[in-house]
Symmetry: D2
């Protein structure tokens, strides 16, 4: 084992920690965690407005109550007396193709539409219609559309509005809009869900699809810690955890506003 | 299973997601991820300066290169062809008493010193000296002091300076300073490490020790995703991953500054 | 990293695999898997009848339907599209103090009774009564007694009868019987459950309590694989998995006998 | 959640546990663990000789020293102070395409050769040669051949000899032999490794490829428990675990024989 192996993420020396070249002590207090996430995954710091959008993306996915399998799985493991990290790990291990995976699936599908439009010199609307036609033929579903609970996801609208505010107007966001319109024309109207919006935005920000599932893990980690801690401190071990939302009662703070 | 069970974290209704009472769409773009982490774990939004300190705490622990067992374990699992989430989960499951656990251990020890000072109406200096004396008698080590690599951890100084900037001057930070001084008097000088600084700050911010390990998991998640993604995209499967830092070569961006 | 580290489990050389000194090719076909489990954990091969008892212990815990949190957790993770190993790992991570942990807890409590009897030169009956009295005073529960479903666990009786057949008559089995009788005298009759029986038997076979949770993991692994595979091949992704046994219907083979 | 869901694995009633229809108390002491693994995964008990072969297959994979990533990953997690189950779970999560996955990959490739032979009414030798030719064209590697350490794996020979003893002479074992011969003819001789032998045998026993990775998890679980327990009881926390076999020293029992 004489050879060395290489990493481009961090360099640790006595009394010095550098992430992608930046002194971590200099980053602290000067960039948001969202910017640091962008930095460590993309290799460079984002412009400050993009950093704020990254924070918004992370905040949008911080929790979705106790029904997702990541929360249920983490609580189930916690109820056996597991350590906090083992329970959170079970929640993280639940983030896969069918849970959070629509982000990268949608991003990949949008990329195909964008590339088709560029190669064939056609509008995104036509490219989206053609792509959907071909997908229907091979029974492939468009990811990032529709939701079990939300018909008009408030997070989607907010994400697009924040992106517009900072002037982010990339081809993947335009493509996801084109798909939305094409679905209406096909008589199958479906709203863009939060996964679809995040997938489009992250693609326009230059993230590779292969790291998007990881971004969802980062975003959801605080929710998982909160669920595990609540299970550890509020519930008896080995209880049956009913996954039915009608059997779950919210008893936290009443609705309130930031300016309250 | 007729009964309901309760959760105080989030309430999900059609087209509405509320975290601790706040509409998530309203939080997005208005609070940093650090503030949202504070909210979901403490139940209320922090004042904005505290939110920035939370971001700094999370940034301080985002990565420490490939030698910690969480990074090595995550890379080792990734090298077998595991999914991204399974590999990151192995890294999360590595955050325990001996890795990240010093944060909550130190916070608990500092709390004892603070309570001793209050109950006995003595100075923190005396209380710290007494506590260390008793800990020495039962062979208990003070957590949050000393580091394998750093004799003067740049993250510690930066955290304390940021806390001072926002006027955070709580008993646990004063206690950790008192311990530092007491260790010098005992002839065993050791620097406060980043875990000790975070433990003192989180305790002063009102976090319970039982959730601090979880905060470290949240902070380290992006580093774990970065290591797993680098392993997946840059290395061959099933390689031997040498944990010796002398066999690891950093080939990322050269040192640079925020204002470069 | 010039130094070597040591392991006493296996030695691998080209064309030779030895476990605890035995050529694995010689073990194959000559000892049961239960004997090999005994070998790898205890360091020596058991007498053949003990090997058969080990097999019976492993068989006794191979599965307990879909309600234990290990099965539910594994199925929940599997339903997100996780790999088989990630889903089984979540099930393994669910084996802790409150799930499977009664085996080692009971073994530790029985050891205290046995040692008390030896040190004080008193009968196991008296020692058990005293121990239960003291445990009641400090509100400690006896592990390995009572069951949510079974009032007379068929596995317990079978394990003790198999142990008797091979002449295994150790102090921990006698102690667990003494506890059973003492509980009747205290007016709180509870049956020995399968965890209590396994804890007593493994202790009499010389296993340390610290490895007993691991033996339960080994025993339950096939059940977890079966549940994960059934979830993967029979169910839709992301379904709600009702943990209520009244909502689970068995549709496998009808009751049958070995000599059918 | 009014509907029930179905499982064909076990039926639990008060004082009765049935696995695939059999009373578990009747199975205990009468069938080996290998037979019970066959039962729970295939749905029926094997003939007794096949049960013994299952035990041999499980024994063959019980451990391979500390260098496989499953053992290193489990030890790495254990060294952070993780619970035993969390550490073993990390080892299980390491069993994937590149570690243990050759069993099912090889079984799938052999099935193609067997089906080609049946459909085209040609010899296995010709079918194997054609299949290898086509695989070479699309740069697909044959799984289950060659080993980093063993040029002549003693487990492979033993498995085939045990299968021959019980008269198991199925098409997949003949196909793997045909591939071995075809590789010689192609000037690329490679020995069948233990994964290839197990894949061929399990396929001839009627197991689906999709469950073979799980069988490897079951087989390796005792080795993982042994490594985790050794790490917990013999090593200091947070040590650097050198993966280089030259830095690992075996200090267990000297070579010995069953009849010693």
């Amino acid at each position: 084992m004489a050879e060395t192996w290489k990493t481009a993420i961090s360099r640790i020396r006595p009394n010095e920690v550098r992430v992608r070249g930046y002194d971590i002590a200099e980053l602290m207090g000067r960039v948001s965690f969202g910017s640091a996430v962008y930095l460590i995954l993309r290799g460079d710091l984002p412009p400050e407005p993009v950093g704020r959008l990254m924070d918004a993306i992370l905040v949008s996915s911080i929790d979705h109550g106790p029904t997702p399998p990541s929360a249920l799985g983490a609580r189930s493991v916690a109820s056996t007396g597991a350590s906090q990290s083992a329970a959170v790990a079970a929640g993280i291990a639940s983030i896969n193709r069918w849970h959070g995976g629509a982000i990268q699936d949608c991003a990949g599908q949008l990329r195909r539409i964008v590339e088709r439009s560029q190669l064939q010199n056609r509008s995104l609307a036509d490219s989206a219609a053609d792509e959907l036609q071909e997908m229907a033929a091979r029974r492939e579903r468009m990811s990032g559309f529709g939701h079990r609970v939300h018909t008009s996801d408030p997070r989607t609208a907010r994400l697009f509005s924040l992106a517009a505010e900072i002037g982010l107007d990339g081809p993947h966001v335009r493509a996801v809009r084109a798909v939305e319109a094409a679905l209406v024309k096909r008589g199958k109207p479906l709203p863009i869900n939060v996964d679809g919006a995040i997938g489009a935005l992250l693609a326009d920000l230059g993230f590779e699809p292969g790291v998007m599932n990881g971004i969802f893990m980062i975003a959801r980690a605080p929710g998982l810690v909160a669920h595990v801690f609540e299970e550890q401190t509020r519930e008896k071990p080995m209880r049956r955890i009913d996954p039915d939302p009608d059997k779950q009662e919210y008893d936290g703070p009443a609705p309130r506003r930031l300016d309250d």
